[in-house]
Amino acid sequence: MAYKMPAQKYSGQIQEVTIGSDLKLGGESVLPFYSFDGDMGNKPVIGMEIWDIIPESWPEGVLNTFKDVADDPVKWAKYCEEKYNPDFICIKFEGANPDGLDKSPEECAEVAKKLAENVKVPLVIAGCQNNEKNAKVFTKVAEALPDKNYVFLSAVESNYKEVGAAVGMAYGNIVAAESSVDLNLAKQLNILVTQLGIKPEKMVMDPGCAAVGYGFEYVVTTMDRIRLAALQQSDTTLQIPMILPVSFESWKVKESIAPEEEMPEWGSQEDRGIAMEISTAVGVLGSGANAVILRHPRSVEVVRNFISEMTE
């Protein structure tokens, strides 16, 4: 008997979303990297994370790479863009944190505006830990940068109305709906966001991220189920490209932050951090991420290489 390949054909397709003027996400009608089954759509993209303040909490291994530019987000973004060629820049307004520097939404909007003027690639605007504050920051930033198709990371259950109304409806940018590692919550939030009047082509979703080893199975399973529902059952509420802020998680776990003096047998702290970031990124890409956010240039290089090998 001759061998027969068991192709799987799906009726559903992931929505294509354009970030900025021409960075396209999604469009696939097969499981991640299943080129043997059909159309893989646009290849996954990589963004680099920068902060509006000096990221003192970053482990040395990654902070050192940016030490000459980290005091100025524009300098930092340009440095990344010129040197490492990311598909987008993710500016995280950590300085807005009310428990920290508590920068005003106007200050953040000023920074975002300068970035938009100086950087060619599109921006992903990320907030701090305080969702209430984020809604205010996002509103001001979106107002300063209308119709740019920038992604705002993110709208959560407690602030989606405000974020959706400003970012998506009033100022024509893209809303990222963030849920916490649960298919039903993700679906529900997507529905709520669309009910505000936001079109699916103006949405992405962050189903919740974790680093490998830290409940990562929930991330994989949630993403697998989201993709299967989108493709197999043509669930339009879940046919939204996924963006995963890998670096937000992978650089805060023990493997990435423990200094060498503390764990001499573990070897280079920088290598460990990079490795956790790469493994987490590949893990979510293998489960359907359309965009990942990374910190370390070495991770960007390797993950890009991985994506090209899988898609070309």
Binding site: G213, T221, R272, E309
Partner: protein, 452 residues
Amino acid sequence: MALNGMQIYKLLPRKNCKECGFPTCLAFAMKLAQGGTEAEKCPYMSDEAKAQLAEATAPPMRTVKFGTNDLEYSLGGETVLFRHEKTFVNRPRFAVMFSDTMSPEEIEKKIKNINAVNYTRINEEMYVEIAAFRCESQDKDTFISLIKKVTEKCSKVVPMVITDNPEIATAAVSECADKGPILFGANEQNHDAMVNLAKENKLLLGVTADGKEKLYELVEKIQKAGYRELLLDAGSRNLKGAFDDMVNIRRTALLSGDRTFGYPTVAFVCDMAQDKMMQLACASLFVEKYASIIVLSDIDYSLALPLFALRQNIFTDPQRPMRIEQGVYKIGTADEESPLLVTVDFALTYFIVSGEVERSKVPSWILIPDAGGYSVLTAWAAGKFNAKSIAKAVKEFEVENKIKTRELIIPGKVAVLKADIEDELPGWKVIVGAEEAAALPNFLKNYQQAAS
């Protein structure tokens, strides 16, 4: 191929004697087709019918073994393509590749690295399980002395003998037969001799061919020769091709129900990239989908920490929460003056909490009572995380002898427990901590400042 109820019915004696516990043969056949009972329950079936049934009801993917005694491992036996459908059962095993043309320094370095990576993560011992040996010298003695050297120095590895020369294979296998080695590989030319060698020594046999079509034909031949302890390799040595092989071999077994590909697969990541981090990327993908042996060029902690952790996550039974051992955990350089927090024994919660405590740079202790392996609110709602279980842990782990503080920080979400705990633990004061783990660093910093 699986049989349906009617096909099974035709194999039965049709006596309707009820001895199987079913009213009729047909009822029994229907149940058997669904996997709801066992063929042995009918005492009147012919041997021939039994054999046919065994074949038809066998799992779609075979479970095979390698190694011996404490170092024996199972591969394969998977029944689903996604872990949420049921669970993945046999985790992939990691190998480091040696060649008998490598310099002695390189060999020594790898031996040292293999021995250095050995640690425990959530009750699981993590180390490289396999040393793969590629015979490139075509010299029997050189090859055997390499195997000898490495297996003597790395006591835990099971050898994987890689050669297409049956004569060299025979000598190498007899050298390490007591370790239950993997024999790789049987190919189009040598399969008769290799199958015999594997049969004689009851070895897991790696089968290799150039492409899935050729591999399929070769496996058919080997199955006809009566050997089914197999490990498959469809020959791709680039990432994209190997991913295609892993996914489609697995889907052929589980979706098409074709047992010719119902065996585990091996991914030679060492041949797909030179760069260590690129190997890590490839290996991470294959842990998710769907390799059973992953061969790396080398190992160190930067590779092991993410890979073993990812594997541990992916192969967790989704029906059963992962629990962390109860006890008092020291975070950072905590001493007897450091603060004490309590949380639940659900591994994910513990990891998040301990991660945030670490990030706070405030050396602390975390007490883990028996909370049923649930998250904070679930454990509290189920009555598993309460004043009694917390007080019991304080006593059981002799917290009062180890730590001077008499303040216990509890998760903000269970603030209601404060009074109860203080009743159970005379002399203690309960501090209500952060509601979310992410707020812990700030909370601890303030807590520490207030104390000093």
